[in-house]
Symmetry: C2
Subunit: 374 residues, 2 copies
């Protein structure tokens, strides 16, 4: 049931079947190195989020450049990564349900596995499952940094939960999960700086309260592609969880640098390769990539090879490009690169990355955690 | 790389891992029979769209109840269906590119395969590929019914293209593809009736123009779940392509019947089964189904088991439910059914249907064309 790869090694890009998920390997490697270089010597560790790429090959490349391990959100993602050779995985999420807990513990013999909790009942269940499996599981307290999703409130509620973990015979208290997701896409540099200043304050106050009560936070982990420079310089965060930096996407591309210009921290390396399959008139070109080939939650893709064309409307299997006279050169059968609006859920639609160097296919990597929702 | 099934046959629903794509088999079978009964004796044929379900098992069930075959949108979907035993597949789309054409022709030995065109260059390429494969391929002219996506304009442009197909040595002219997609979700019954009256007029005028020029339209195919009763009664359409009727979704559920009430033509049978994985406070419950488990292009899911709860916000792997005091009984670990906003792209996120009768798992069907984007 795995869909065949749309390419063969050595094939020119133009022959790759569409829609395909194409990685510009030069740009991708520059992104990988940029973050590794910025983190090296900073005193913080890098633990990239594999929910972005869902690919053990990429996780191992990140670790070769110094990452201490990776994060993911789901037990089934952790399985795919560990079975692909990744030796250190933090599930930055709450895990609820016996099946999931047993499967998580099943990985603890093959890799360092850790997770999070935001409720005493989860701690009880994690402890029971770890005891059953005969392992000691590191557990972080997730604190709500303002996104109002999961997480206990900073301060006293976090202390209460940390105490419960410390007291659990089969768990060890690993620190704080302190990711401020809703800060990542604030457009202005100063807005993001201010949001993270607030997060740092909450994390530091919680850390200090725990210390006053004899509980050490070995790790304060969080940060994303939009804000990592602030957490990195905070003196409080010890670990960064950036994910999207390897690929970027149209939405992250709208973030601004300190100088008010579009961010240059990383560059787009992920594209959906699509074919113009209909040219009904002068004003529109229809491509073969719609809702089943691209995520639209953060807006439509941009048309990389033809910036004057706009991706106007998606239906399930089609995309309508509005084109001006300047771009009417898009002919039936032409192929174009689209920059997805949001990389993570776009990647989740594909089974294979087609890695391209220049115009030649160099790698075909399986997206082993595609569809790993459990 | 195919993700494991989240259930076993015989398991109680409550033990099914989440998120999972659950089909209420009783409701599903009622939907199947409702449309089959309405079409029987009407003089029109039923050719349901398999782009909705992407599953050979379901296609064969539709054919057992009288459907003449199925439709799909992509060559790779056609492959999955034909290799799953379906003997008659119409690709209701333009197919561009040598790889795709060769693969399509490769199916013609195993099933009746037909497709569409909206450009003379496609006809030339289809003819060459059919000739190379030694087959005669039935080709429909797709006409633009007002959705302004693919399709030639009705009338003279359709005649010109039909002539080109008639003249092609390895093609046969099959008729008109006349699907009016943008009419399906017009909320009012009379709005939909009016839109389809316009479509019927265009299709009839084109059919008559072709007849005056000695070209017979054996088939005029189109219609969807929102409008089929109008095409069926038109005396012009000969074939219906409804897809979503088997499952329905929250968006189709907002269509109104003739009496101004929410449609009762079909009932929801497709659910995303999700777990409450965090209950941080009294006002919100976080479920484990977000952008990678549900499609949001037509709005968020509704909460079937707790209509007072609203699915407020999705992130990649989480959904935030806003809950009033009446629904605060949702506890950590509880499982709930969500009705997807849009069925087709939601199905495309899963590898398996979990068919449930009452509260017991009765079937686990592979979604063989999941991810079949080529």
């Amino acid at each position: 049931m795995t869909i065949r790869p749309p390419a063969e090694i050595g094939m020119p890009l133009d022959e790759v079947d569409t829609p395909a998920l194409v990685v510009d390997l030069d740009a991708f490697e520059r992104n990988l190195r940029r973050l590794a270089d910025r983190v090296a010597g900073s005193g913080v560790r890098l633990r990239p989020h594999a929910k972005t790429h869902k690919c053990a090959v990429i996780a191992l490349k990140q670790m070769e450049l110094g990452a201490v391990g990776v994060c993911c959100q789901k037990v089934s993602e952790a399985e795919a990564l560990v079975y692909g050779g990744v030796k250190d995985v933090l599930v930055t999420n709450e895990i609820v349900g016996k099946t999931k807990l047993r499967r998580l513990m099943g990985l603890a013999g093959s890799a360092r596995i850790a997770t999070c909790a935001d409720d005493p009942a989860q701690v009880t269940a994690l402890d029971a499952a770890a005891g059953e499996a005969g392992v000691t599981l590191p557990v972080h307290v997730e604190i709500n940094m303002g996104g109002n999703r999961c997480g206990v409130e900073p301060g006293k509620p976090a202390l209460d939960l940390a105490r419960k973990i410390v007291d659990a015979p089969h768990l060890s208290f690993a620190g704080l999960q302190a990711y401020h997701g809703s800060a990542q896409h604030l457009r202005g540099w100063q807005e993001r700086q201010k949001a993270i200043a607030g997060a740092v304050e909450k994390a530091a106050a919680t850390r200090d309260l725990l210390a006053q009560n004899g509980i050490e936070c070995a790790t304060i982990t969080g940060a994303g592609t939009g804000t990592f420079e602030f957490e990195s310089a905070s003196g409080v965060y010890t670990e960064l969880q950036c994910g999207s930096y390897i690929f970027m996407d149209a939405d992250y591309g709208r973030n601004l640098d300190r100088d008010g210009q579009a961010t240059r921290a990383f560059e787009p390396s992920l594209f959906v390769w699509a074919t113009v399959m209909s040219r009904p008139n002068e004003e529109r070109a229809i491509v073969d990539a719609g809702l089943k080939a691209l995520a639209f939650d953060s807006g439509p893709p941009t048309v990389w090879d033809e910036p004057a064309a706009t991706y106007d409307r998606a239906s399930d299997e089609h995309g309508r490009l509005l084109i001006a006279s300047a771009t009417n050169r898009l002919k039936l059968g032409d192929k174009v690169r689209l920059v997805p609006g949001h990389c993570d859920p776009t990647v989740n639609l594909y089974d294979w990355y087609v890695g391209v160097r220049g115009e030649r296919v160099e790698a075909i990597w399986p997206i082993v955690a595609r569809g790993a929702v459990y």
